[in-house]
Amino acid sequence: MLEHLVLLLQPLVGKEVNNMAKQPEYWRWTESRWTNPDIDYKGKVITSGVDVGSVSSQAVILADGELYAYSNMRTGSNSPDSAKKAMNWAMEDTGLTLKDLSYTVGTGYGRVNVPFSQRAITEIACHARGGNFMYGPTVRTILDMGGQDCKAIHCDERGKVTNFLMNDKCAAGTGRGMEVFADLLGVSINDVGNLSFDIDKEPQPVSSTCVVYAKTEATGLLREGWPKNKVLAAYCSAMAHRIMTLLERIGVEEDFAITGGISKNKGVVKRLEKEVGIKIMETSKYDPQIAGALGAALFAKALYDKGKK
C-alpha cells in the first residue's frame, strides 16, 4: 500500500522545479561606501555611529568630528552581524580596526544589538543631529523616510529635537512599500521615481494606504490595462499624500529636508513638495541614508568629550 503511494507521488516530486534563483531582484537598491580622501585620521579621535535599521544598516566614522568614512548596506536577519558587516565595510582599506574606535553609539531598531557600542540612542535624536550636519543649521524639519517607518522631526539650529512624530505601526509610506511595488511591476527600485513621471496625465492616487491592499489595487489597475508607469505614479502620489497627513500633525517649518532611502525617489519627493507647498532641500553629496548613523557618530564624539572633562 505504502509503496504504491510512494510511486504515485514520485512523478510529482520529481517534476518540482526551483525557479527562485532566476527571479531578478527589482527591489535591490544600490549599497554605497565612501572615504574622505582629504583626511588623515592618524593621531585624531575616532568615533563612530552604527544605525541598524529594519531594512538597511549604516556605519559612519568620524575623525575629530569630521566625516571620514561611511557605508550603507542591507540589514540581514541578525542585527549584531549587520552592525559588524557595515562597520567592516566602512573600515575597508583604511587600516582602521574596531580597537581604534574611542566611542561608538548604536541607533535604529537594532541599536541595543551593536556589540562594540558603548551607548544606544534613539533614531529620532540621531536623525535630527545628522540632518543638522548634512543640511546645515537652517534645517528645521527633517522627514526621515526609512525602510519600515517614517519620522517627522523638528529641530533647532544645533540639531536638538523640538518636536517629533513617528509612524512605525503601518508600512504605508515607507521604503519597504516601494520595494514591494518595484517587485510587483518588475521595475528596478532606482528607476521608479523617473518612470513615474513618464505619463500622459497624473492619475488619482491608489486609495488604499495599506501596502498589502495597495498592491491588490495595483494588480486590479494593471488588469484594467493601466501602463506600469501610471500605476507607479498612482502609488508614489498615494505615498506622498499619506506622508502629508502625518506631517500635518506637527506642521512643516522651513528649511525642510528629507533623509532615508525614499529621499532618493524623485517620484515621491516631487509630489510631496507639491502637496506641502514648501521647497525640499536638495539631497546632500553624502548618501541621505546615513543621517542616523552620522548623528550617532556625532553623539559619540560629544559623549567622548563629555567623559574626558
Binding site: R119, I121, T122, I124, A125, K160, V161, T162, N163, F164, L165, M166, N167, D168, K169, C170, T209, C210, T245, L246, R249, I250, F299, A302, L303, K306
Partner: protein, 94 residues
C-alpha cells in the same frame, strides 16, 4: 521638546504628546495611570541632557487607542494622567 508617542491608523490619530520643557519629572502621571502607560526616566531623545521626563512606555506606544480607552469614555471626561499633571505637560490627540 514636544514628544508625540502613538500612531496613526485607518481609524484615526492616537498620540499622547508630552511637552518635555514643561514636564518636571514629578511622576504624578505615572501614579495616576492605572495601566502603566506612563513612565519617567532619562529623555531618550535628548541624550546629552540629564533631566528626567515622562514618556509613554515602549510596549504601550502602538496600542494606546485600546489601553487608554477605559479612561476616555466620552469627550468631556479628562483622563487621569492629564488631570494629575500640574505642569499641563500632557495632551491627547483624540
Amino acid at each position: 521638546m514636544k514628544a508625540n508617542y502613538g500612531y496613526k491608523d485607518g481609524s484615526g490619530d492616537y498620540f499622547i504628546t508630552i511637552d518635555t520643557d514643561r514636564c518636571n519629572g514629578c511622576k504624578s502621571c505615572v501614579d495616576a495611570c492605572p495601566y502603566g502607560v506612563m513612565a519617567v526616566g532619562e529623555d531618550e531623545n535628548d541624550p546629552l541632557s540629564d533631566k528626567e521626563v515622562a514618556f509613554v512606555t515602549e510596549k504601550e506606544r502602538k496600542k494606546i487607542k485600546y489601553t487608554c480607552a477605559p479612561c476616555k469614555p466620552s469627550n468631556d471626561v479628562i483622563p487621569p494622567c492629564i488631570k494629575a499633571c500640574e505642569m499641563d505637560a500632557i495632551t491627547h490627540s483624540w
